[in-house]
Symmetry: C2
């Protein structure tokens, strides 16, 4: 909690784009200053001299605006610089692909689909009124009643009429659970007014591992929210139009594609568009419940007997527990409000709490009402038609009200899927910020959306949807595990939190949270055990895999950060080395063939470390790899020689005869640069050159060897096949070698 | 013919590995000398100074052999240099992929499959005795009787018994054609003692276009030789073992794979292994013919009536012509001996002619004999069993002789396919040498095989085999066109040749060649017309496509050669520029911020041309692209500054806030290098940087801008995903810009 402030700002849900560029801490700044002094001490003159540039770096003023005319660079226009206004056209200007016709087409399609880019400053804090926040944030939770009761009944019906009799007590338990968890989350809202997602609460209070477990549960949960909501939404549609049933999978993929594009555009979580479906759904559900109750009132609330389902399993504790776990999926999405406290108007936490109370009340009422009328009307789950659709048919037949119920259900479910699109990339962003996920998830696209996370969610959800053929029943067993894992960890975290902070009413809050944590954990265990073979193992495995992966990623980033970090050791080594072998004043011998003090005798150790932070610590050797003495080769040689560092030319020759010929050319040219010919009797080019350069490196590990490669660049991609790819292959092969700098001198053929 | 000498040496079939490295002509040498003088004139001191290197380029002597111990480079060992013995281990040493476990596995598999690499000097001229040359070179031609007669009969049988009656006269015509073409090729052997392939003869005498047409015909021909021979060989096997018939396609692909591996190993065209199948086949055919004749003698050579085939088409000129064109496929491979004259023992051309005569005699005898016994025994083509197999069954029943006939047939057909594997890459090599095919076909693999050509043939043949389901009948219509196109052009070329050279007996030779050319052309036209719809159009289209492609490739290479060529214009421009604006003596101002004579006023024109052949013509600006001031960034800065050229650092910042922070770090460090921050409000990194560098370039086009990129290199490929790929993306995006040199300064995280 000591780094609470920084976190708080972040958790507020307004990610800064500069997060991908981490800052330096005090120690690193000290080292930086120290390194800088070393630069200054030895090369003051050259440093000043270098300040004079042959160009004006502020390109915004040169050439004058009137001078701008289309160059061969086509659509690329003026670059304005820091402080100046940045024209939309410029920074928009098609990424590197933008020049080829394919690239231009891709760019245009992108703009049509996704819209013009948005500036970072376009990130605004949303402040929602409670009446707007309620529908936006509770779509996920409320829409769960579309599949939760049905999932429960689908298990109970296995035991026939005997099983169905248990639906009322199980539903009552679930409703109680909803209340407990709701009250528990009210405590979280108070404690984390900047937003308390499960990952943050669990990580803050329980430590890294539980935090990661919660994050894994959440990510799985979001993927399944998309899959289940869309499966359920399509079921609402196919119940109304049965002829669409065979197209379930393509329809689902189309919906995911729509969500993908919409979210890449950067759909904001607000406005009437998002409030309407939820209110319509609430209206539809209450109409449904009241209508059915009214019909039932005619028969004196005597339950219509269910159509004698054949029992395939005996009733037992396991079956009841399974039904309970399935029904608990009606609770998914309860946590949404506690994550989004900053989105409320002030006093934020108080408004959020009120909204949560409303939501829980609605949820319990709708869940209870549906179970009640299901019981009264004797409806049982059927593969081809959802329970809600059956109930709607009973009361509204196929009239406009029936269509309204189905349409509202489908719409709210799509909206619930969209909620996952908002939260999944944000959890990944938080994970990436802490080094548990690849840094690409830190990046916001030019529409301010976390494009990579959105894309990943779409791919994962599509995969799940296709594998389970868009069948809600098959998806439910996977669903509960992730949700309740996150619930349990988050609420356990709150228990620890209250014990630690002991603010006002902490005992009461602790009790509520502890109850919530206990019950959630019980559901989690129930779900994991009873549903293990029918799908929970997939979710558990996925969470385990995520945990493993996140740990490995974290490990690598820590190693990388340690390697990249400015640390005092490096400078001190340099200081000592400097004292022993003072670097030459560059003005005295402008092209030092050898440092005046001789080569550092510990050069192997120092040299391999790639820690030359000062120019005088860099000892150069330029190696020009030449295949032939054509213009491209000569240019590379001229470039190398113009650097005024020791230069060596290397030619790989397939035969003694060719080697002689090349030496002849070299003599004709004037032998201005030492030439070494390596014979490659097996005609390979890359391997011998790599070996040769490696041998040079081993000879004097303190040298920085710049390998200069002439590279022919063709205008058209299709011509690239016609030229040797040796330069690219060499570059790739030289990558792993330490202290080898690769320079490509291009030669353009248009 | 004036470049005859060089060609002759090449056509001898011993390609030099240095062909991929073209030489310089007199004009280019003159230019080279001139450029060299300019280097000398201005920078004599620095040139001498630079000769002192911090390393010994002859790495073979350093470190002493005893000092070698395994480094982190693992299997890479000592590099010996020009003149020294090259240890097998070294130049063999796994290409760049060899370090990763996958790479090592690939490398080992390669060695097991393909064997140890071979030195270029291992190319030896084969000198074959006639009795060895005959089977090796005539496998293709002789094996054609396995499918030629059957293809003819398959057409005639469509007209029922009436059609079959025409088999004898058509066969007689084909036999005559064989004799004429044989005699015609005897002339080619005399005129082209170094080997006269159709591409060379047609190209030499008729010009570029006919040469390319011939080459296209040949390439198609070789692909079809593989497909038809293997299809026919498998038919021989499935005739004997009908249960294998459903596996035709996989069997064929396995055979192509075997040929691929065998030829990548570099199978030599000699030895008993290759002589045996052909002799066995000749033996088998004569046994078959004699056996059947003997059986037939019992019935007084009275033809057994064919089993009343039902006529589906009426007999007509078109059908007879189609039968003739199909039967002509028995002639494929006749040209092999004339291509391979240098492979004979001296007097080469005389021995080759004798062998050709033998081959033609055998071919005519076998072809005639088979047609005769087919007629006598009343055999007609059946889908499930080849004609040869039916004939063998009739005489030898299912005894060991039957097995021998079938085995010999399959073996010789596989050998015929192997012939194509020798010739296809060679034709591609010749095409690539002349710039009509990508230069990759010039390369010999480490087993001295033209690996790329071999791979291309395998892919093409597999494709054709799969598309036509390994059905000989469907492949035959494609076959004749390519063969006879090459025949016609080659022999027409010879007619022109004789008219030009008028050596002894030229009139007689001209007459023979003219007859051959005429008849071949007639067959070509017949085949193209009668078989157009049944497949010839595919072959014709492929030839046309090849022609188009080859022309485009040639065009590009010519442009590239012209661009790369050392030409006097460039130097003269430089001379004049030098006179106007003498370059500064590098010792006076070691770090010229501006040339003493000022920037050339025509710099746009000169600068964009990338023709700096002298160091003093290169004006530097180093631009370091920095994301953050970590060790990798500082190293890149130190590297840039150590080059002692004007240096500018550029930072792309997503927000004003981050820009300020970065400027703060810069000041802390000491501001040793001018810094320019580009604001990227849409968070893109690559595009703004490209635009900025492009703006710098436009400001002063004569500058060579070196973009220095710090690049994090991870040890494991899987970690690469975790780091920004911006460096690689920048490199790709900067490629098309003129005069931008890209330098990657690696920072290794292990």
């Amino acid at each position: 909690m000591n780094k609470g402030h920084e976190k708080d700002e972040w958790d507020s849900g307004v990610p800064r784009p500069s997060e991908a560029l981490p800052g330096l801490d005090q120690e690193q700044l000290r080292v930086l200053r120290q390194v800088g002094r070393q630069w200054h001490r030895v090369a003051p003159r050259s440093a000043t001299e270098h300040r004079a540039l042959p160009v004006n770096p502020d390109t915004g003023v040169f050439p004058p605006a009137a001078d701008i005319h289309p160059t061969r660079f086509g659509q690329l226009v003026r670059v304005s610089s820091l402080g100046g206004g940045v024209s939309e056209q410029r920074a928009d200007g098609a990424d590197e692909a933008g020049r080829s016709p394919v690239g231009r087409f891709a760019h245009r399609s992108r703009r049509v689909l996704l819209g013009a880019p948005l500036k970072s400053t376009a990130v605004v804090r949303e402040s929602m009124r409670k009446l707007v926040a309620l529908p936006v944030l509770s779509a996920d939770a409320l829409s769960s009643v579309a599949y939760g009761p049905e999932a429960m009944l689908a298990v109970l019906v296995l035991a026939g009429s005997t099983g169905l009799a248990y639906s009322l007590p199980i539903a009552a338990t679930i409703a109680l659970l909803m209340l407990v968890v709701g009250v528990s989350y009210r405590q979280t809202i108070r404690a984390y007014p900047h937003g308390g997602g499960s990952y943050i609460v669990a990580g803050d209070n329980l430590g890294l591992m539980p935090g990661l477990m919660a994050a894994g549960g959440l990510l799985i949960d979001y993927v399944l929210t998309v899959a289940v909501s869309i499966a359920s939404g399509i079921a609402a549609i196919t119940s109304a139009i049965p002829s669409l049933a065979p197209a379930t999978v393509p329809l689902g993929l189309i919906m995911i594609a729509l969500l993908l594009v919409g979210n890449l555009r950067g759909i904001r979580q607000a406005g009437v568009l998002f409030a309407a479906p939820t209110y319509a759904f609430i209206l539809a559900m209450f109409a449904l419940i009241i209508g059915n109750l009214a019909d039932s009132a005619g028969s004196g609330f005597r339950p219509t007997p269910a159509p004698h389902p054949t029992a395939t399993e005996g009733i037992g504790v396991l079956l009841i527990m399974r039904a309970f776990a399935s029904g608990s999926t009606a609770m998914t999405g309860i946590e949404a409000i506690s994550n989004a406290v900053p989105a409320f108007r002030p006093v934020r936490w108080r408004n959020a709490r009120t909204t949560l109370t409303w939501m829980i009340s609605l949820l319990v009422a709708m869940f209870g009402g549906i179970i009640a009328i299901v019981h009264l009307r004797g409806v049982i789950p059927r593969g081809s038609e959802t329970v809600l659709s059956q109930l709607a048919h009973l009361t509204f037949h196929s009239g406009p009200m029936y269509v309204f119920v189905q349409a509202a259900t489908a719409a709210v479910l799509l909206l619930a899927a969209n909620t996952a699109y908002n939260d999944f990339p944000r959890v990944l962003f938080l994970l990436a910020r802490d080094g548990h996920a690849p840094h690409i998830f830190l990046r916001q696209g030019d529409r301010l959306a976390f494009s990579n996370g959105i894309a990943l969610l779409s791919v994962a959800a599509s995969l799940v949807f296709v594998v389970f053929a868009g069948n809600t029943d098959s998806l439910i067993p996977l669903y509960a595990v992730g949700v309740f894992l996150a619930f349990s960890l988050s609420q356990t975290g709150m228990v620890v939190h209250w014990r630690r902070v002991r603010t006002r009413h902490w005992r009461k809050s602790l009790t509520f949270n502890a109850t919530g944590a206990l019950l959630s954990t019980l559901v989690l265990i129930t779900a994991a055990i009873t549903k293990f073979t029918s799908g929970a193992w997939v979710a558990l495995m996925a969470i385990g895999l995520f945990f493993l992966l996140a740990t490995r990623i974290r490990h690598h980033y820590q190693k990388a950060d340690a390697a990249l970090r400015l640390h005092p050791d490096a400078t001190e080594t340099r200081d000592r080395a400097g004292a022993r072998a003072p670097a030459p004043a560059p003005t005295a011998t402008p092209h030092p063939v050898q440092p005046e003090g001789g080569w550092p005798d510990h050069e192997t150790g120092q040299g391999e470390e790639e820690k030359e932070e000062t120019p005088q610590a860099v000892h150069h050797l330029a190696v020009v790899a030449l295949a032939s003495l054509d213009l491209a080769g000569l240019r590379a040689l001229a470039y190398a020689a113009s650097l005024r560092q020791p230069t060596l030319a290397v030619h790989i020759s397939p035969s003694e005869e060719e080697a002689q010929r090349f030496r002849g050319y070299w003599t004709t040219w004037g032998d201005h640069v030492p030439l070494h010919v390596v014979l490659s009797p097996y005609r390979a080019i890359v391997a011998p050159l790599i070996h040769y350069i490696e041998a040079l490196h081993r000879q004097r590990p303190s040298l920085t060897i710049t390998v200069i490669l002439p590279e022919i660049v063709t205008q058209h991609l299709r011509h690239r096949l016609l030229h040797s790819k040796d330069a690219a292959r060499l570059r790739r092969a030289l990558r792993p070698l330490p202290k080898i700098v690769v320079t490509s001198v291009p030669f353009h053929i248009s």
